[in-house]
């Protein structure tokens, strides 16, 4: 068997939404297509972590939802552990898939039922997925709470969400995602709702657990510094397409696409001696319903030439670990 087998393989994946033109006439004849994700391809090897980055509306959350089969793709192929996921539709198969692929939510204050104790919230996935005895389930709950460092466990079991802090709640959200022993985890902005001083704790914990459990992870975030800290590989998305991807260090140290360059230059630097430059990108993100021809970035790109307005650049390798979709790589 091939050693570098990929857990996740995505080929030309698409998700288009039909949006009605008129809010009050749902059946309006004039319906438009919003291309939230438009033909993206990437692979994630077993145990690796991938960061999906980009501005709001670039399709990163939609991609995450497709990876978890919460959205059915409009086009393209998605292989999970070498199984074509379009063949997973029987109730039993979907249940099995859900057990292996889990989601960690962004807002811990809304992700847990306020009327559930910690014990009950963590039992929920076991009630659905686990056939063991009550004792076994209780043991698993205690085990996972230890794992996310909510100790001593007995102090937390009977607590309600409102009695816990944001950082503790996010650990519960993580614990709940991990309790079915998944092999794949999607974390959508896992710390954006937390205070800075406790973010680091949750991130370090996630890193440690992902390593211990050999989890394959996808982090969705607009924060490049977070992705750099957490991920082996990075995918930069813009308007539903991938503009640049590769090893995180390589892409961030040596960005080639003008959009990636702008994104990186725009991150404020904590050092007062280094002043951020003004970003040269003008205009605004065009509407995803009415995309321009050629390169999607042409109307904002500082180096666009005639070809960019006609032909869409294909994503191509500049080396083994780095791919860019731009006509002007040099």
């Amino acid at each position: 068997m091939d050693k570098n087998r990929c857990l996740i393989k995505v080929k030309e994946l698409k998700k288009h939404f039909t949006v009605s033109h008129n809010l009050f006439k749902q059946s309006s004849k004039k319906s438009n297509v919003l291309k939230a994700v438009d033909g993206i391809s990437f692979e994630i090897a077993h145990g690796n972590s991938l960061g999906l980055a980009g501005e709001s509306g670039c399709g990163k959350t939609t991609t995450g939802k497709m990876l978890l089969k919460l959205y059915e793709p409009t086009g393209g192929k998605y292989f999970f552990n070498d199984i074509d996921t379009s063949n997973i539709y029987k109730k039993e198969d979907i249940k099995n898939f859900r057990k292996k692929a889990q989601l960690m939510f962004q807002n811990p204050f809304e992700a847990i039922n306020p009327r559930f104790t910690v014990r009950r919230a963590l039992m929920e996935p076991l009630i659905i997925h686990h056939n063991g005895s009550n004792k076994e389930k209780e043991d698993l709950v205690a085990y996972i709470l230890n794992k996310v460092k909510l100790q001593p466990v007995k102090n937390f079991l009977e607590k309600y969400p409102h009695q816990l802090s944001g950082g503790q709640l996010q650990r519960i959200v993580l614990a709940r995602a991990l309790i079915t022993n998944p092999i794949f985890l999607v974390a959508d902005e896992p710390v954006s709702m937390l205070d800075v001083s406790i973010r680091a704790g949750v991130l370090n914990l996630m890193r440690k657990i992902a390593h211990e459990m050999k989890l394959t992870t996808v982090y969705i975030s607009h924060d490049l510094s977070l992705i750099r800290y957490m991920c082996h590989e990075i995918v930069i998305m813009y308007l539903g397409k991938i503009v640049e991807m590769g090893l995180t260090d390589e892409v961030i140290e040596n960005p080639h696409h003008p959009y990636t360059q702008a994104l990186i230059a725009a991150v404020p630097v904590t050092d007062p001696e280094i002043k951020n430059e003004e970003i040269k990108i003008k205009n605004y993100v065009p509407s995803p319903i009415d995309l321009p021809p050629g390169c999607i970035f042409q109307n904002r790109c500082p180096i666009a030439t005639e070809i960019c307005f006609r032909i869409e650049p294909k994503i191509s390798k500049i080396n083994e670990k780095h791919q860019v979709a731009c006509h002007h790589i040099n």
Partner: protein, 337 residues
């Protein structure tokens, strides 16, 4: 003379559970044309300070003591009517989530008219002229004036709000998390715009944010707040290059750095204290790895470590040692709370 001087300001909230000491005796000064970054975690009282200065507080909040002296006048001596005359003209507030503060059923120009005509006493024509001037100043297309807020993107709304805050040439602008909800590129553009305008118009700014890097890029001085108190204040260089309080050092450890892949993040264990029954002594002591006995009994005062650089910590004599130790992960791992 300083433009704004805050002395021992205390703002408390009443609730059924008791009295929350949200802001508990803070003092700072702001010179004309200067910009101050008020930094801290959520719940540390930074928004309460902003709303207290301009006196648009929640109903259950009350001023428990202290003075706000603006341009030589004690604002707490002012009646509500007098305060209303000051707002927009002398000091204006860019509220948190400013993007949602434009009225959705009126075109944006109506918001400008309201302020320019009602507050500024202009006639319709000069108000229109001024609104156009302001729009150009913040880099918005003039035809946008007649658009409704929903036709604006987040960054454009933020620019419009900044233009609005500048409408009557205030001396001081208080911006509460002005870029938090924006994407990085737009954030960069808005911050640059704000910086340019501030230099051009010589307006003072108080920037409230939890993001140290935003402050590093836009402010002259920083005050770090923790649990209703200022724990450290000084110039941007003092605080970010030469921090002298364990909390500030801890915050710096917790920030991921895009340019430095090898830095490992360290969090501050525990969470901020309950402000209804704040602990005795230093409020950071329960989370502080460098605490000594005194910290739990007596409250440290702000002492000058270097000219203009103040820190509220008993361990100042050992600050070199603390700075070194604060960089190590083991230091922060286990503290008995």
């Amino acid at each position: 003379m300083a433009l704004l001087k805050i002395e021992d300001l205390k703002i408390y909230y009443r609730s059924s559970a008791g009295i929350t000491q949200a802001v508990d005796g803070i003092s700072f000064k702001l010179e004309e044309g200067q910009s101050l970054g008020l930094v801290g975690e959520s719940g540390c009282g930074k928004t309460t300070v902003a709303r207290g200065i301009i006196r648009v507080m929640d109903k259950n909040a009350f001023i428990a003591g202290g003075k706000v002296i603006f341009n030589g006048k004690d604002l707490f001596g002012f009646s509500e009517d007098q305060m209303r005359c000051m707002r927009w003209k002398d000091l204006s507030l860019i509220p948190q989530a400013a993007m949602n503060s434009l009225n959705p059923v009126y075109p944006v120009i109506d918001a400008f008219n309201e302020i320019l005509i009602l507050k500024g006493g202009m006639d319709t024509d000069s108000a229109k002229k001024r609104a156009k001037e302001l729009f150009l100043m913040v880099g918005l297309d003039l035809k946008r004036l007649y658009h409704y807020p929903h036709e604006f993107s987040g960054g454009m709304k933020q620019r419009a709000i900044i233009a609005l805050a500048l409408a009557l040439n205030p001396k001081l602008i208080i911006a509460d998390e002005p870029v938090t909800a924006l994407d990085v590129i737009v954030q960069n553009q808005v911050l640059m715009e704000l910086k340019k305008l501030r230099e051009k118009l010589r307006v003072s700014l108080i920037m409230i944010t939890h993001d140290i890097s935003v402050v590093a890029q836009t402010c002259d001085i920083i005050a770090v707040m923790y649990a209703g108190k200022i724990v450290e204040k000084g110039t941007v260089f003092d605080i970010l290059k030469n921090a002298a309080h364990p909390y500030t050092l801890g915050l710096e450890n917790a920030f991921p750095n895009l340019k430095n892949a090898n830095k490992s993040l360290i969090s501050i264990e525990g969470s901020p204290p309950d402000l209804i029954n704040p602990p005795n002594g230093c409020r950071f002591a329960p989370r502080c790895p460098f605490q000594i006995k005194d910290c739990r009994q007596e409250e440290p005062k702000l002492i000058e470590v270097n000219p203009g650089h103040y820190s509220a910590c008993f361990m100042m004599s050992e600050i070199e040692n603390i700075r070194k130790k604060a960089k190590e992960t083991e230091t922060w791992i286990k503290i008995d709370a």
